[in-house]
C-alpha cells in the first residue's frame, strides 16, 4: 500500500459502475477482457491458429509430407515461391505452405491433448489432496513434489525411451510435466476456500463434504484453472516444437511439424533461411497468442493482479 492507496476512497467495484443486468463475476470478467487490447490480439491469434489447424485439409493446397516434388530439390538449392507453391518447397520436396498449415494442426492436437491430460490428472490429484486432506494429501503432494523435481527434459527423454519416438511420447512427456502444476493449483485453491465463511456455512447446513467440494468449491476454482490452462498451452506449443526438434517425435523426418521443420531447415540455413523463419515465427506467434490471452484472462478474473 502506498500513501496514495491508503487515502483515496475505495473505488466502487466496476460492476456497479457499469450496471447492466446480472453482473456476475464471469460477466464482469468478460467485460474487462473485451476492453483489454492485448487480450483481444491474443484471442484473435488463438482463434486464427485453431481455425487453420481445424480447417487444414480445406486450406492447404496439397497433402502434407508427400515429398512429391523431391526431384526439384537439389543439394545446393530449394525452389522458392512459384505460382504453384506460394511459399516454395521444403527440403524434402513437399509444399512449404501445406507443411506449415498441417504443422498448426499437429501443434494444436499435441498441445491440447497433452494439456487436457495434464489438467485432468493434475486436477484429480489436486482435488483429492485438497478435498480429503490428511494422509491422502501428504502422499499426493510428496508425489507431486518428486514429479516437479524431475526436469521436464529428463521426463521427456525417459518417456520417449520407454515408448519409442512418436507424437504420443511427446504428449505424455508434456502432460507429465503439467500434472504437478494443476495439482498444486487446485489444492491451493481448495485449501484457501476451506476456511471461508461460506464453506463453514454449508457445512453447518449439513451438506456432505463431497457435495461441498464438487458443487461449490470446484466451480470457484474454475477461473484460475482456465488461466493456467491457457498459459500452459503457450508453453506446450513451444515444448512440442522443442521435443520434436530434439528428435523425440515422429521418426519420419519429412513430417509436417514446426519443430521438425526447423531442424531440417538448419542444413540449408545459408541457401534458404526462410525454411527456418516461417516455422519459427509460427511457433512464436502461437505461443504469444496463448500467453497474451492467458494474461488477459488472469487480469479479467482478478482485477487486482494487474501489474
Amino acid at each position: 500500500m502506498t500513501a496514495l492507496d491508503a487515502l483515496t476512497p475505495q473505488a466502487p467495484p466496476p460492476a456497479e459502475v457499469t450496471g447492466g443486468g446480472g453482473a456476475g463475476p464471469w460477466r464482469s470478467a468478460w467485460r474487462r477482457l473485451r476492453r483489454n487490447p492485448a487480450g483481444i490480439v491474443g484471442a484473435v491469434i488463438v482463434l486464427l491458429f485453431v481455425l487453420v489447424a481445424v480447417l487444414a485439409p480445406l486450406l492447404a493446397p496439397f497433402r502434407p509430407a508427400t515429398s512429391e516434388w523431391f526431384g526439384e530439390v537439389t543439394p545446393t538449392s530449394v525452389p522458392g515461391p512459384s505460382d504453384e507453391h506460394p511459399l516454395g518447397l521444403d527440403s524434402y520436396g513437399s509444399d512449404l505452405l501445406t507443411q506449415l498449415i498441417y504443422g498448426a494442426r499437429s501443434s494444436l492436437v499435441i498441445g491440447v491433448v497433452s494439456t487436457a491430460v495434464g489438467l485432468a490428472v493434475g486436477a484429480l490429484l489436486g482435488v483429492l489432496a485438497g478435498g480429503i486432506g490428511g494422509w491422502v494429501d501428504t502422499v499426493i503432494m510428496r508425489l507431486v513434489d518428486v514429479l516437479l523435481s524431475i526436469p521436464s527434459l529428463l521426463l521427456a527423454v525417459s518417456v520417449a525411451a520407454l515408448l519409442g519416438r512418436s507424437p504420443v511420447s511427446i504428449m505424455l512427456a508434456i502432460s507429465a510435466a503439467q500434472v504437478p502444476i494443476f495439482a498444486r493449483l487446485l489444492r491451493a485453491s481448495l485449501l484457501a476456500q476451506r476456511g471461508q465463511d461460506y464453506v463453514v456455512a454449508l457445512r453447518s447446513l449439513g451438506l456432505r463434504q463431497r457435495r461441498i467440494v464438487v458443487g461449490h468449491m470446484l466451480p470457484n476454482s474454475l477461473g484460475p484453472v482456465l488461466v493456467q490452462a491457457t498459459l500452459t498451452l503457450a508453453t506446450a506449443v513451444i515444448e512440442v516444437a522443442a521435443l520434436s526438434f530434439l528428435g523425440l517425435g515422429d521418426p519420419n523426418p519429412a513430417v509436417a511439424e514446426w519443430g521438425r521443420m526447423l531442424v531440417t531447415a538448419q542444413d540449408r540455413l545459408d541457401q534458404a533461411p526462410w525454411l527456418a523463419l516461417y516455422p519459427g515465427i509460427a511457433i512464436a506467434v502461437t505461443a504469444l497468442g496463448f500467453t497474451l490471452l492467458g494474461e488477459a484472462l488472469r487480469e479479467a478474473l482478478d482485477p487486482r493482479s494487474g501489474r
Binding site: 502506498t2 512464436a284 505461443a287 500467453t291
Partner: protein
Amino acid sequence: MLTLVVRRLALLVLVLFGLSLLLFAWVRALPGDPARALLGEKATPAGIAAVNERYGFDQPVWQQYLTYLGQIVRGDFGASINTGEPVVTTFFERFPATIELSLAALVLAIVLGIPLGYLAARRRGGWLDNAVVGGSLLGVVVPVFFLAVLLKYLLAIQLGLFPTSGRQDARIDATHVTNFYVLDGLLTREWDASWDALVHLVLPAIALGSIPLAIIVRITRASVLDVLSDDHVRTAEAKGLSRAVISRRHVLRNALLPVSTTLGLQAGALLSGAVLTETVFSINGIGSYLFDAVTQLDYPVLQGFILFIAVVYALVNLVVDISYGVIDPRVRVS
C-alpha cells in the same frame, strides 16, 4: 543450516535409490529377452552373452539389483551400446561443454536481467519499462532453438561476426585439462585459446540466456515494485539515507530474494535449453550425446544420463536453498 543440508542430502540419496529401482525395473520391463531388447538391432550372439554376463540376467532378480546398485555406487554406468565407450568417460568429456554454456548464459542473464528489471521498476511506465516488459514477453514466447537459428543466420552466416559452430577453432592447438575450454586456456596460459573459446560461446550464450533473462527481468521488476511500496523503504527514506544506499541496501537486497528462488527453478529449463542450443551450434556437449542415445535407444547411456542429471539438478537446488538462507535471515533461523 547444517540440518538443512544433511536432510536434503539424505533426501537426495533416497530419491536416487528410488530412481535406480525404477531404472532397473525399466530395463527389465522391456518386451522380450532383456539382453536382446537392450542391444536392439545390434544383437549378436556374442553381444548377448556379454550383456548377460554384465547384468546377470540369469540370476535371481534381487541379486541382479544388488549387482546393479553396486555398479552405480562405484560410478560404473556401463558402456554405450553404440560406441562401446564407458558412459562415465563420455560424460566427463562432454558435460563441461554443457556446463560452460549454461553458466555463460546464466551470468549473461543475471548481469543484464537484474539491472534492467530494477531500472524498469524504478521508472515504471517509462519507455525502458515498456521495452523491458515487451522484451521479456518475447523472450518467453520465442523458442530458444529458433532464437539460436536466427542469431546463427544473421550474426554468423550473414555478417560473419561470430563463428557458426563448435567450441573452438580447429586450427588452435589447445591443451585441454578440464574440458572447460575457457578455463583450460587460462590454466595453460594459452590466452588465444581462451579468447577463441569465449568468442564461440557468445551466440549460444545469448540464445540460451534469453530464457533466464526474460524470467529474471520479470521477477526482479515485480519484486522491486513490491519492495518499493513496503513500509521499511519509507523508514529508510525518513532516516535521510542517500538514494544510492536506499536502492542498494533497502530495495535491491530485499527484492533479490524471490529472484534467487526462481533461479533454482530455472536449472531444469536451462538444461533443456542447453541441449537444444548445442544442437544448433554443433557443440559437442551432452545434447548431441543424448540425441543419439534417444534415437538409437542406447539404454546404458540413458540410464546414466537420468541418474547423473538428477544428481546435478538436486545439487543445484541445494546450493540455491543454502544461498537463500544466507540472504534471508527469516529462513536461516527456522
